[in-house]
Amino acid sequence: MVYTFLPNEKLKPMNQKPVYILGGYQTDFARNWSKENKHIVAMIREVLEGGIMETLLPIEDINAAFVANFAGELYVNQGLLGAFLVEADSRLTGIPSTRVEAACASGSVAILNAIAFIQAGIYDVVWVVGVEQMKTVGGQEGSKYLGRAAWYEKEAKDIDFPFPKLFGRLVDVYDKRYGIETKYLAAIAEKNYANAKRNPNAQTRNWYMSFDHANTIGEYNRILSGKLRLTDCSHVTDGAVSLFLASSDYTKKHAKKHNKKLESIPRILGWGQTTAPVEFDKKIRESEKDNYVLLYTRKAILHAFKKSGVKNCWDLDLVETHDCFTSAEYMAIDHFGLTAPGESWKAIENGVVNFNGKLPFNPSGGLIGVGHPVGATGVRQILDAFKQVNNTAKDYQIENARKVATLNIGGSATTNVCMIIGK
C-alpha cells in the first residue's frame, strides 16, 4: 500500500496551547430566510444571541470575530461581511472582525484562523460565525454561483450543475479503479436522511426517504450526472452557526464561574489542512499511482490524526464528514481508514457507519440530512462534534462519545480540513 505523503513529512503531536470550545448555536436549517424577507444580518444576530444564551458568555469578553461565507456577493449582494458581525450587537463595535472564504470549507478555515490567534496569545475569546443565505435564487442560478468553487473557466462556465458533475466523476473514478455499486450510495443517502430525523435543526427532518426511493432512477429521482441521482445530493440551505473558542486561561475562569471542571470542556485536539490542485482532473491524475483517490484529503486526515495523537480511525467515536454528495462520504470512509482503499462498501454493508455502528458517520444527518449552507457547514460540523463530546446532542447523541473527527472539503476536495475534537 502506498502512502504518498507521510514518509517525508515531519509531523508531531500538537504541543501548542489548547483551544477550548465553549459552545455555540445553530439556526433551524429548514428555514427559508428569503421567504421571511430577512437580511443576512438577521441570521448573524440570531446565532450571536443564541450562542450567548447557550454559553452564558459576557458579550464584552469577545475579543475578535471571524465570519465564514462563500458567496454573499452573489447570493445576497453583500460583501464586507466581517463588518456585519459588529452590526449584530453594538457592544461589539470596535473589535477586529474578518471574513474568511474557502468555498464549502470556509467554516473550518475560519475556525483555524481563530485557533491561530488564540494560540499566539493575541486573543482569549473568539467568536466564529458561518453563514450562507442561498435561497435567494433558483436552483439553476445557484448552481452557477457554486461553480465558482471549481476552476470556473475550465470546469464550470456554461455547464449546468457543475458540482454534481464533478462529484459524479468521483464515482466514475472509483468505478474505474475499484468498481462501485450505486446501491451503496443509496444506502448513504438513506442513512443520513434517517439520522437527520433525530436532529431538530436538520433541513430534512420531516422529509421522506427510503432505500428503495434513493436506489431507484425515475421521474422522482433523476440522474444528475454520471451515476449520481437527485437523492445523492445535499440541498440548497439557508443557515448560520456560531461557535465560541477560548484560550486555556479564559476557559479556566469560565469553568470556575459556572462550577465546571476544565477537563469537562471539549477542545480541539488537532487538525490537518491541505490544499490540492484546483482542477479535479489534475487531482485524479496525481493519484493514479496511489491507492487513495484524493491524496490531499487523505493527507489532511492523517495530519489531524498525528497532531491529535489518534492512532487510527478506531480511536474515534464518530465522524462528521462532508457529504455534499454521497460519493464524498463514500470517499471519506476509506480515506479515514475504515476499509482498505476502494472498499468503503464493506463498511456500509456491515453497518459500521450506521448510527449504532462501530464508527457512526454523520449521526447529525450530515450535509445531506442537516443541509449545506456552504459557508456555515464547517462551523456546524464542529458545533455538532462539540455537542457529542459534551453529551448534549440529545436525540442524536452517540453514547460515550469522547473523540470526534470532522472532515470539511472545499471545491472538488481542493481545500481539505480535518479536525479532532475531544476532552
Binding site: E36, K38, A42, I44, E46, M53
Partner: protein
Amino acid sequence: MTHIVDGKSDEFMLPHFINTMVELGRLGNKTPDKGGFYKRKYDKSKTVLNIKSFTYASVSCVKIPFVEQAKQYIREGRYFDAFTEIKKSSEKKADFIRKILCSYVAYSFACVGEVTHKKYGIELIDKAMAYGFNWAPPTLIMQLFGGKKEIIPLLKHYSIEIPNSLLEFSELPLFNPRHGIYFLAK
C-alpha cells in the same frame, strides 16, 4: 355560531360587509366578473373593494412610516426595536395594531384552564398557537411589548378584561432567538 362556546364568540361573527358581498355575489375567484375583495380590470390591473361604498378603486401602495420602520427592524432581526416602533407610534393605525395584539395576549391567557389544563399554565397555549397556527406565541408578544408590567396598563387602556391567569403569571422565559421565524419583514 350558537354552537361555539367562547368568551369572544361575538368577535367571530362575520362583519356586515362580508354579508353584503355574499348578497351581491362578489365571491372572489369564483366570480371574477363581479370581483371579491379585489377585482381585475380588462387590462388585468388590480382594483380593491371599498367596504363603505362597495365600489372598486385602484390599488395604491400605501407606505406607513412606522410600519416601514418596523419591517426594516424585523428584516435585520431587531424584533424588540420593531415592537418599540409599534409601541411608541401615536398614529391611529398603530393603536389598532396594539389593540389587536393585546387582545390576542389576553384571549390566550383566558384560555388557560379551559383549552388546556391549568397546571400547564400558558405554556401549552403558547405551543398551540405556535405549532397549531404558526402564530407568534402570546408570551412572545407580551415579552416584545415589555413584559407583564407594560402589557397590563395597555389592556386597561383598551378596556380589555385582564384574565386571572395573566395576573398570576410571574415569569417570562428568556427571549428565544428562534422565535424570529414568526415575524416576516413584509
